[in-house]
């Protein structure tokens, strides 16, 4: 069972990563994360929106209402300068964690 802290950390990294390439609304963000992680990360509304609101409050992302060509209004999120700065160290932290876990696995097999 993956703990809440780890889940939150990976979910935040996933959101920052998909927003790196441009602004997205919540549904599209969830869909892309699910596709790109081959279903490993799936969001319910209760997991996604409170996290987006919290990240917005911390100043990592910013949401704004946009109207699409079809006339639909969607709240789209984009990375702020703070969010952009957070992404490389966060990625580094996670890759170090995974490297450490892989080493642990290797050691237990040896």
């Amino acid at each position: 069972m993956i703990g809440t802290g780890i889940k939150r950390g990976t979910a935040e990294l996933a959101v920052l990563s998909v927003l790196e390439h441009g602004s997205l609304h919540g549904y599209e963000m969830a869909r892309r994360i699910e596709q790109q992680t081959k279903g490993a990360l799936r969001f319910t509304l209760a997991a996604l929106y409170p996290m987006l609101y919290r990240m917005e409050r911390h100043g990592w992302i910013r949401g704004a209402w946009e109207t699409s060509n079809s006339g639909r209004r969607r709240r789209c999120y984009r990375l702020t300068a703070v969010g952009k700065k957070m992404l490389p160290p966060l990625r580094q932290e996670w890759s170090e964690l995974f490297r450490a876990l892989r080493q642990l696995k290797k050691a237990s097999h040896a």
């Binding site: 869909r31 319910t44 639909r72």
Partner: protein, 228 residues
């Protein structure tokens, strides 16, 4: 197609945000549900299945509401504790103590339940009958502030918590300092006081809290039925 904003509005009635903020949250969640619903229709799902599947995406609406409330307001954990536990708890405590004052003034004779001699349990029955109200008030205020169900029940128990804490400290201390021969008397005295002032009132307060919880969940279910 369902009116998704209406559906979301009917489920998240307890959000304590300002009107514009609340509308924004409703609109955003409704847009997400609408996109999901339309994608499911495109996959070939029937309309009613697509509605149910899209709604299931929300999971527990109560949980969603609590998390949104916490994320949208600038409250930290300490502030949440105050509004979800301490404040409802103190109000419940104040109400139950006021009720006890009134009962002792108008019905000064407690009900006596004789057990083995010399143990006698004393109960202010009219006070016990009013306590579910205090318990329900604690649970209601706590729930309204976005507390989880266990936290809301804990708030309804608040009036007996200080007494329980006193007993937890006093019983071992009393037993240590009492004379060896009087241990059984001291223990019996603490036991009867514990039943009179902690166990029975606690159970009654909890019953009030449970009733409020049942009321909340029934209201949620009926809203879901109405919302389709």
């Amino acid at each position: 197609m369902p009116d998704w904003e209406k559906v979301v509005g009917e489920q998240l009635t307890g959000l304590a945000l300002d009107a514009a903020d609340e509308r924004e949250v409703h609109a955003e969640l409704a847009a997400h549900l609408e996109e999901t619903y339309e994608a499911l229709l495109r996959e070939g799902m029937t309309e009613s299945d697509a509605i149910h599947r899209a709604l299931s995406l929300a999971g527990d609406w109560n949980d969603l509401q609590r998390k949104i409330q916490s994320a949208r307001t600038r409250k930290d954990t300490m502030t949440n504790r105050i509004t979800q536990f301490w404040l409802p708890g103190f109000l419940t405590f104040a109400l139950s103590m006021s009720l006890l004052e009134l009962v002792q003034k108008f019905f000064p004779q407690p009900f006596m339940l004789r057990l083995d001699h010399p143990s006698v349990l004393l109960f202010y029955v009219p006070w016990l009958l009013t306590l579910p109200l205090a318990g329900a008030l604690g649970a209601y205020l706590s729930k309204r502030a976005g507390a989880s169900p266990p936290m809301a029940l804990f708030s309804s128990l608040f009036p007996v918590l200080p007494l329980a804490a006193i007993f937890l400290i006093a019983i071992p201390v009393g037993l240590v300092i009492s004379h060896t021969l009087s241990h059984s008397i001291v223990a019996a005295a603490f036991l009867t006081l514990g039943i009179e002032w902690v166990a029975v009132p606690g159970a009654v307060l909890l019953a009030g809290g449970f009733l409020m919880r049942v009321f909340f969940s029934r209201r949620l279910v009926s809203r879901r039925i109405v919302g389709g």
